[in-house]
C-alpha cells in the first residue's frame, strides 16, 4: 500500500492505495471522477486519456504511484466560454463528434492536448494526433471536424 497524492483538476487528493493501482482506477474509484473510461487492456483505445502535467497519457497504463505529487486534468476539469464548455467540448457538440459518448472524454482530452501544442492543425495532424483513440460510433470525420471547429474558436489558447 502507498499513500498517493495527486492533484486532480486543481484539487489535491490523497488516497491509500495498493502499489498496483492504475491511475484510471485511482481517478474513477478513489477520486470518484467517472468521466474517463476504460475500453481496453492494452493501451489501444484511449478512452482513459487524461492530461498528466499537461500531456495526454493513457491512465490505464500508468500506475498511480508513478505520478506521486503530479497534476492530472480529467474531462471534468475542463471549462470555457461556451456555457461552461471548453472550445473542444463545444466543438464536439457543434459538429456531432460523439454518439454513445463513451470514448468521448478520451477524445476530448487528446484533442485538447493537440491544440495546446499545435493550435492550427491540418486534417492530417488531427487524425494522427487521435490515432491512439478508438471510436466505434462516428467513423471519425465528425471528430476531425469537431477539433477543427475548436481550433477556429480558441481551442489552442
Amino acid at each position: 500500500m502507498a499513500i498517493v497524492r495527486i492533484k486532480i483538476n486543481g484539487v489535491m487528493q490523497q488516497h491509500d492505495v495498493e502499489d498496483r493501482t492504475l491511475l484510471i482506477h485511482y481517478i474513477r474509484e478513489n477520486s470518484r471522477l467517472t468521466g474517463a473510461h476504460i475500453g481496453c487492456d492494452t493501451s489501444n483505445c484511449g478512452a482513459c486519456t487524461v492530461l498528466l502535467n499537461g500531456s495526454a497519457v493513457k491512465s490505464c497504463t500508468v500506475l498511480a504511484v508513478q505520478v506521486q505529487d503530479e497534476e492530472v486534468t480529467t474531462v471534468e476539469g475542463l471549462s470555457g466560454d461556451f456555457n461552461g464548455l471548453s472550445p473542444v467540448q463545444e466543438g464536439f457538440r457543434q459538429q456531432h463528434g460523439l454518439q454513445c459518448g463513451y470514448c468521448t472524454p478520451g477524445m476530448v482530452m487528446a484533442s485538447t492536448a493537440l491544440l495546446r501544442e499545435n493550435p492550427k492543425p491540418t486534417e492530417d495532424d488531427i487524425r494522427h494526433a487521435l490515432e491512439g483513440n478508438i471510436c466505434r460510433c462516428t467513423g471519425y470525420e465528425m471528430i476531425v471536424n469537431s477539433v477543427r471547429w475548436a481550433a477556429e474558436n480558441g481551442g489552442g489558447k
Binding site: R20, H25, S43, L52, S55, A56, K58, V62, Q66, A129
Partner: protein, 272 residues
Amino acid sequence: MIPALFTHVPVTTIKEASDALNHYGDDAKLLAGGHSLIPLMKLRLATPGYLIDIARINDLRGIREDKDKLVVGALTTHEQIENSPLIRKYAPIIGAAAKLVGDPQVRNRGTIGGSVAHGDAASDLSVALFGANASFVATGPNGKRVISAVDFFLGFWTTALNQDDVLTEIHIPYAPSTNWSYQKFTIRSQDWAVVSVAVSGSNIILGAMGEIPLRAEKCEQAIASGADFEQAASFADEGTSPSSDIRASADYRRHLAKVLVFDALTEAKKRS
C-alpha cells in the same frame, strides 16, 4: 485488467536501482515509463513481484552533445526525442523513428530505454538505433559497460542486459543529416511494424524479420560492390527468419523487407 500484486520500489540513484535488482533477483523488473511492461502485467503475462521505479533518477534524463556523439538518457521519452533539436541535427533517423512509436499518449510516457531494453525486434527505436550505430550503456554492480547494438540484441525479447544492469544511456554517434531513411510497414496507422527498415549511411537494418533487429548484410555488401538498389534489395530477406502471425506470413514479410529496403535506399539517396 489488473496487474498481479507487486511492491513498488522507488529509487533515486542508479546504484540503488542496481542494488535493488540484485537483491530481488529474477522477481524484479525495472519500471521506467512502463509502456512495454504494464500492458503485459495487466494481461498477467508478466508478474514481477518488485518494480524498481527508476523514473525519478534525474541522471537518466535528457539529451546532450558529447564530442562526436549524442548521449541520450534512458528515461528520455519518445516525445522528447521526436521534438529534440539535437536529435534533429545529429540523428534525424532517431527522431523519425520515435515519431512512429505507438501513438501520442504512448510517446508522452514511453521511454527510449524502456523500449530498447524490452528487446523487441519490431521496436522502431531499436531498429533505428542499430542503424545509427548506437551503443548502449549498461550500469551494473561492477560499473559501466558500453554494448554495441550488434552485441546488445540477443534473442526474442532478450538483450545483453544482466538481471542487475540498468540501461542508463544510449550513445548515438553523430550521423550525417543526409543518407538515412526509416521505413515502417503497418496494416493500420497505430501499430507495431510488420516489417521495418533503417538505412543510415552504409547500414541497412531490418525490424521484425527475426527475433532481433537484423543487419541486412547481403544488401549492404551488394551496395558496397556497386549493385543498384533493386538488385541490392532483392537480398533483403537472406539470413532472416521472420515469423508468421495474424498480421503477415513469413513469406509476405520477406517480400516486404525487399520493398522497404528499396524504398529506404531510394529515400536515403534523395536526402543525400
